[in-house]
């Protein structure tokens, strides 16, 4: 009886450690909550182009093509890290429509950023007040969404995408 009492802490320790280990190894990250929007329709939005205020993009323009939406800003350093990857994607998948949303950024800064680092996007929408990001449930920058031909969100990633994520998670969906 006494022995069992003394063994208990070790058993509890083992259980806690096993669960924590499985959790850590499963690559789950509490900072990446599953999106409530997954497999839902793209939220309704309307945004003007960074370069031409009269050029407007709306939700219904997105039908019948695969679209990668990326929220970025000139002040976001992780965005800078993932930026070159969009050129790779561009080269590899010319049909994929790349839509960038410039989040809470002064226009001049955004233009300068895309001039310096290059502009991989087919369309750069302005989201100066962050309302579009709010509709998409953006948690932090950068965030990337993949939309299928039916206008449904089929993938979401928080944080800078990397080569691994591109290969293992995004490419199978393309």
């Amino acid at each position: 009886m006494n022995r069992i009492f003394i063994l208990t802490p070790l058993i509890v320790l083992l259980i806690i450690c096993i669960f924590s280990l499985v959790y850590l190894l499963s690559g789950k990250d509490p900072n990446k909550p599953p999106s409530a929007l997954l497999n839902k329709d793209v939220p309704i939005f309307e945004s003007s182009s960074l370069y031409n205020a009269k050029d407007i993009i709306k939700t219904k323009d997105l039908k019948n093509k695969k679209i990668l939406i990326n929220f970025f800003a000139s002040w976001c350093s992780p965005c800078k890290i993932e930026h070159p990857l969009f050129f790779e994607i561009r080269k590899k998948y010319p049909e994929l429509y790349l839509l960038g949303f410039n989040h809470k950024d002064p226009t001049s800064d955004a233009k300068k950023y895309l001039k310096d680092d290059g502009n991989p996007y087919d369309f750069v929408g302005v989201d100066s007040d962050g309302l579009i990001a709010l509709e998409f449930g953006v948690f932090g920058l950068p965030e990337t969404y993949l939309i299928n031909e039916d206008g449904k969100i089929i993938y979401k990633f928080m944080g800078p995408i990397t080569m691994d994520i591109l290969k293992n998670e995004i490419e199978p969906l393309l």
Binding site: P9, L13, C17, S20, L21, Y23, L24, L25, K28, N31
Partner: protein
């Protein structure tokens, strides 16, 4: 340069500890020489820490850690506190405090030489584990690969004086338990006389006092900085600090039992191991980023696994030694219906149940996500409805426990207590009847006042009143309990009787708070060195000549593009009036006013508890 010095001394210190660890088996040392080595390694670790701090102070952005977490525009105090405001630096602080504890422990007199040496060897072992963790997964001395002349800034929410000192004090509490752990393990190995229990008692009191201070600072910070109007949120990180705190409280109380006839050695050893295990477990949960909370650090699986391994080794080792080298049978307990020992045993059982309840609630989301792949969150409702009821019998007992006899079943002056309790109950019932009745409010107030009243009766009926140090040492347990009583009253009033008022206001509007007229004077924006501030200025009680000014608003930190809210709090002895400035809509500002009665009692109670913790250290 400073980074190089820091890294080398860190590695060198780990090397020395490795050498000391081997000394148990290979190289035998004289006590003198051994202690010198320990102190030398502590100084090296300190040097390492201060070189990192130096890099922060001079904004040396060639250090990657400084680049990531500092900015040259920051005021000096936040450059200094930036040292531990990030994962790598805070782990170095952890190690640094560990070695400071070893340093001071090496000066302990009146314990057996071999025993002291063994304790320090276990400390050296811990030093190696955490040192390697820092070197391999969280090195704060990495060189920045690009040349920059500006840093990325410190998380603005951390730019606060309270928070600058919160981590070191909290860590002093957490890490202090390492000494208690090492003492207990050494005690198991050597089976010496019970002298070590007195040593352990001193160190566990020190750790507990620091931990109390650290937790209180953290919740005080949450109170005025997060702008939610509360001071405790059952956030995972708060739970993590509460677990070793409660277990530590049980430990301190168990160590008191040594003063009586019986020694519950086994139980004390168990608690000592548990306290430090919970500290390391807390470090694991926070550092692995496995739980989301207000303390969000970058999550990194390799770090998580490494520190999980440390947790497993330390705790597993501790409990395994406990299993194999069980202390010799202690005397049977003299458990009468109600004497001091049985009261302490009941209190210990309750505290352990409370700790386990919190532990379950904290790790439950992990278990559920692993098993069912569902994300759940366990919060206030669970903890409030489980932990508080568990603690209530303990609170009832603590008011009389210090005056119970060690041996017999008798309570002196029992009639006085019964009478006092009845009168008090009637008063509280009357209070609840005339003001709005609330069950928790009733229970909390009754408990709080009962603890204070019974402790005061005990002081005056059991001891002769004198003003000298000895008297204060004798009544110290009662004083500690009075502190708890005061804190319970504060907690009850501020949570149960909180009042919330919402307004939509234009500048120049007058409104009514608690029968006093308040003027919303104006909105003011100013540029400070590292942030822009937006403040709503309020004049409280304008009918009187000495109206008080309250400022509530927000700060915008351009470097990290973050907005923090700054609550405006008017402190009065019996209530805090807490102003939160919301957003502007249609030219009107949303203003929320919370009236938190008796919040100051919480902090007063905590200060009293810390005071008696310190007094108890000096008492044998």
């Amino acid at each position: 340069m400073s980074s190089l010095v820091g890294f080398l001394s860190l590695v060198f210190a780990i090397g020395i500890n490795f050498y000391l660890f081997l000394s148990r088996y290979i190289f035998k040392f004289q006590k003198q020489k051994f202690n010198l080595f320990i102190r030398f390694s502590s100084l090296l670790t300190l040097l390492s820490f201060f070189s990192l701090m130096y890099a922060y102070v001079v904004s040396d952005f060639s250090n990657y850690n400084v680049f990531q977490n500092s900015h040259s525009n920051k005021p000096l105090i936040y450059k200094i506190s930036g040292t531990w405001g990030n994962h790598e630096g805070s782990m170095l602080l952890w190690l640094c405090i560990l070695s400071i504890f070893s340093f001071f422990f090496s000066f302990t007199k009146n314990i057996e030489d071999n025993f002291q040496k063994l304790t320090l060897i276990i400390q050296a072992f811990l030093h190696i584990l955490f040192g390697l963790f820092i070197v391999f997964t969280s090195n704060p001395f990495l060189v920045n690969s690009i040349l920059v002349n500006e840093g990325l800034g410190l998380n603005p929410i951390l730019q606060d004086p309270g928070l600058a000192v919160h981590p070191p004090i909290l860590y002093a509490g957490y890490v202090g338990y390492s000494i208690v752990f090492s003492i207990a393990i050494a005690g198991l190995f050597q089976n010496t006389d019970d002298e070590w229990i007195y040593v352990a008692k001193k160190w566990s009191l020190i750790s507990w006092t620091f931990l109390t201070g650290g937790i209180a600072l953290g919740s005080y910070w949450a109170y005025y900085e997060l702008g939610w109007g509360g001071w405790w949120f059952w956030d995972p990180v708060e739970n993590i600090s509460l677990m070793p705190w409660i277990a530590g409280l049980a430990l301190v109380h168990s160590l008191m039992m040594v003063r009586g006839e019986q020694v519950i050695k086994k139980w004390i050893v168990f608690l000592s191991i548990l306290c430090f295990s919970l500290s390391v477990f807390g470090t694991f949960l926070v550092r692995s980023g496995i739980l989301t909370s207000v303390h969000s650090f970058a999550a990194d699986a390799s770090r998580g696994i490494f520190i999980l391994l440390i947790f497993f080794i330390v705790t597993g080792f501790g409990f395994l030694v406990f299993l194999l080298k069980e202390p010799k049978k202690s005397n049977a307990l003299n458990l009468l219906f109600i004497n001091k020992v049985s009261a302490l045993v009941i209190n210990n059982i309750l505290m352990i149940i409370a700790t386990l309840t919190i532990l379950l609630g904290t790790i439950y989301p992990i278990i559920i996500e692993v098993l069912y792949n569902k994300r759940i969150s366990v919060g206030g409702p669970y903890f409030n409805s489980t932990v508080i009821p568990i603690m209530i019998p303990g609170f009832l007992l603590m008011s009389i426990a210090p005056i119970l006899s060690w041996q017999t079943n008798k309570i002196n002056n029992s009639k006085k207590y019964v009478l006092a309790f009845i009168i008090l109950s009637v008063l509280v019932i009357l209070q609840s009847y005339f003001l709005d009745f609330n069950t928790w409010g009733f229970v909390g107030l009754l408990l709080g006042f009962w603890i204070i009243l019974a402790s005061i009766i005990a002081i005056f009926s059991s001891y002769k009143f004198k003003i000298n140090i000895k008297f204060f040492k004798i009544i110290n347990p009662h004083v500690a309990h009075i502190g708890v009583g005061i804190a319970i009253i504060g907690i009850t009033c501020s949570s149960v009787f909180q009042n919330e008022l919402d307004f939509n206001l234009n500048e120049g509007d007058k409104f009514n708070v608690n029968g006093k007229t308040v003027l919303f004077e104006k909105i003011e924006t100013t540029n400070e060195t590292n942030f822009q501030s937006l403040r709503g200025k309020f004049l409280f009680d304008i009918e009187k000549n000495q109206s008080k000014e309250i400022e509530a608003g927000k700060n915008y930190y351009p470097v990290s593009k973050m907005i923090t809210s700054e609550a405006g709090i008017l402190h009065q002895w019996n209530k805090d009036i807490y102003f939160i400035l919301g957003d502007q809509k249609n030219n009107e500002w949303f203003v929320k006013v919370l009236i938190n009665p008796f919040v100051s009692f919480i902090w007063l109670g905590v200060i009293i508890m810390m005071y008696s913790g310190l007094i108890a250290v000096s008492r044998r």
